[in-house]
């Protein structure tokens, strides 16, 4: 009898109670959320919010979300964001670049992104179009008024004047791109002055050729299952530890002291590079470039290595290590396939001091170490070379004259 009662209790009473509890919780969640019906969120005007911070001298002329699509599948919201903004430069300076921050789910990997348009030259009172095209996935329903927030995070004007919230490190990025642009424009202007349009055309052809011939590598991040099991292990089958050599730039404020990574074929784990601040000023941020070479000595750009997370500053003479717990697979793609990594090297891409001054390597630095053949050209050089390819050297000369 007792067994029967227990069976009834376990078999029906508890599941029924569980069902009632679940129903109550669902109702509570539904009532608590500010979501409203799903169809409301499928309206891009409701789902996407666009804003410009008050201190940015840009005004919104128009916004077009008509191509944006929102799909809701259960508890998942998928946004195919196609946002076209037209903004006017309300300042008295030329607009050099803009960064927009896109936030869909702050605490999720990939929930935040930034979209930058460097190498602009928008005159005062002129308008320009800013496009954001991203595919986003976020939980549904959102607890916020909008599922996706697109904010202009920063704008850079002539003389490196920056405006904006700078939540996405926009200032440093825009300043670096602008400094690279100035460096390369100066280079091409000097060629034009010394050798005329022929020399400029030759340099442009060389740049196009270099971009086409640059050995490309597909660096892929291996799926990280759990931090628990991706802890680096000292002994793993055929892995060997390769030391990272450095590319020395005479004027670089940072010096690569040491570095290593575990390598097995085309797989690289836990790359680590230690740098030392050899300048007299504290460093706020830095970014390293990371290259690998195969057995034939061909060098490939493997990826970017930003400063370690959570650090504040690097005092003069101090050292800091950037280490990744991720695993990467490097592939040449196509028939070439996997890469047998033979050597690795690192170089300093840019450094931002605590006072906001940014350092980048000179063209001579890059050429002396042959990095110009392995690393991507600057955004500005890419823009000018494309201009040369489509409109010829006259268009490049006229473009250079505007700066």
């Amino acid at each position: 009898m007792r067994n029967k009662a227990t069976s009834v209790l376990l078999g029906f009473a508890l599941p029924a109670a569980f069902a009632v509890y679940s129903l109550t919780m669902c109702c509570a969640v539904q009532a608590q959320s500010v979501s409203g019906p799903a169809t409301l969120w499928q309206d891009p005007a409701q789902a996407v919010h666009v804003a410009i911070a008050p201190d940015i001298p840009l005004s919104l002329v128009s916004k077009d979300l008509s191509s944006t699509r929102v799909q809701i599948m259960g508890a998942i919201m998928m946004v195919d964001l196609k946002c076209r903004l037209e903004v006017r430069n309300e300042s008295t300076s030329f607009l050099r670049g803009v960064v927009m921050g896109v936030v869909s789910a702050e605490h999720s990997p990939g929930g935040t992104a930034s979209v930058a348009l460097p190498s602009l030259n928008i005159a005062p009172d002129d308008t320009t179009e800013l496009n954001v095209e991203l595919k986003l996935v976020r939980p549904f329903p959102p607890n916020t008024d909008h599922a996706v927030n697109v904010d202009i995070d920063g704008a850079l004007f002539t003389s490196m004047v920056f405006r904006g919230p700078n939540e996405f490190d926009s200032r440093r990025k825009l300043v670096v791109w602008e400094m690279e642009a100035e460096r390369d424009r100066r280079h091409f202007k000097s060629l034009l002055a010394s050798g005329g349009r022929e020399q400029l055309a030759t340099a442009m052809q060389a740049s196009v050729q270099r971009q086409q011939q640059r050995p490309r590598l597909r660096a892929e991040l291996e799926q990280q299952l759990r931090k628990l099991i991706t802890t680096p292990r000292p002994l793993v089958r055929r892995e060997r530890r390769i030391q990272v050599s450095r590319h020395h730039f005479p004027e670089s404020p940072l010096e690569i002291v040491s570095g290593s990574a575990l390598v097995e074929g085309s797989r690289v784990r836990t790359p680590k590079i230690t740098v030392k601040n050899r300048s007299q000023k504290p460093v706020r941020w830095y970014e390293l470039g990371w290259l690998v070479s195969d057995g034939d000595g061909v060098r490939y750009t493997a990826g970017l290595m930003p400063a370690p997370k959570g650090w504040s500053r690097l005092a003069p003479g101090a050292e800091a290590s950037t280490q990744s717990n991720h695993s990467f697979v490097l592939n040449r793609g196509g028939a070439a396939g996997g890469l047998s990594i033979d050597r690795m090297s690192g170089y300093v891409r840019n450094v931002e001091f605590e006072d906001g001054i940014v350092w980048i390597p000179t063209r001579n630095d890059l050429e002396a170490s042959s990095l110009d053949r392995a690393t991507p050209v600057s955004v500005e050089e890419q823009r000018l070379s494309r201009l040369y390819g489509s409109q010829g050297v006259e268009a490049v000369i006229s473009e250079l004259a505007q700066f």
């Binding site: 599941p15 008050p54 128009s62 799909q71 998928m78 004007f157 490190d169 991040l221 991720h326």
Partner: protein, 311 residues
Amino acid sequence: MRLFYVGHPRETDLALFAGGELGPLSRWRIEKHLQSCEPCRTAVADFFHLQGDLEELSELPSSVDWAGMSLRIRKAVAEAGETQSDPVRGRFFPKPSAWQLGLATAAIICGFIVVRQFPLPEAEDAVITATDEQNAVSREARTLEGGGALAPGGSAAPSESFSKPSSRDAVSETGGRAANIPAPSAPTGPLGAQRKDAAMNLALDRGVTGRGILREELDQPIGGKKKASADELRRAKASSVPVERQPVSQEEQFASLGASFSMQIAGVGASIAPPTDGSEIVVDVKTDGGVRFRRVDAATGRITITDVYAQ
């Protein structure tokens, strides 16, 4: 099934865990167990690092006659007098008890309730796009506060202090801090948002967003290299070798997935649309898990740089 392990989990479960093949409850149980069990943690790490074996498995000679081998095995089993019978079936599918039936009923009821609460989209046609009225031009002629226009500053305006790139402080022209900029609408409850995001991560892990489809598609041959067939993968799984997804290049993903929402670049939840107009895209992987895309628009030549952050 106990909520917590008394002994150790089975080796098969550890292998499936390492391969990300377990359901949420089993995964949670094993995670709990691994927190306090060094040997199992080592075993899981071993399974995880054994993923290289998949490459070897994938290079099995294509000339193997699997159908013939299967026939020969069946024949041998039949000759040994071992045929499938009801007792075997009964062992694998025991008669359910009352409480199991009840629990299943409750689960179905709960599932129905949840589906009713969060309905699936009816069809592709249900996607709504903004109307012209909603996208009407909104002119916001804005003037600089204090009537000030930007004046050349000489050098990059520094900020007073640095916390991280995510500083919300606006950098003023004079180098000091300006008024705080209103942040994008913050979640009404941070913990609630974190819980939702955690659920989102779980959903992404489990393939709710189509990663299951993605995984199927990613298992296509890459770069001419023969990959394991579905049967080979199943066999590999059965022999407790964790089956891990082969990493696939961004271009392969673009090619294989087209405009699919489920595209997950380097394991993150946001991605950019695959170029359809001949635009050039260069992808840089960051060692912190983020990805940077440099896109050159084919029509305008304008360059857009998109950073998708790992966190």
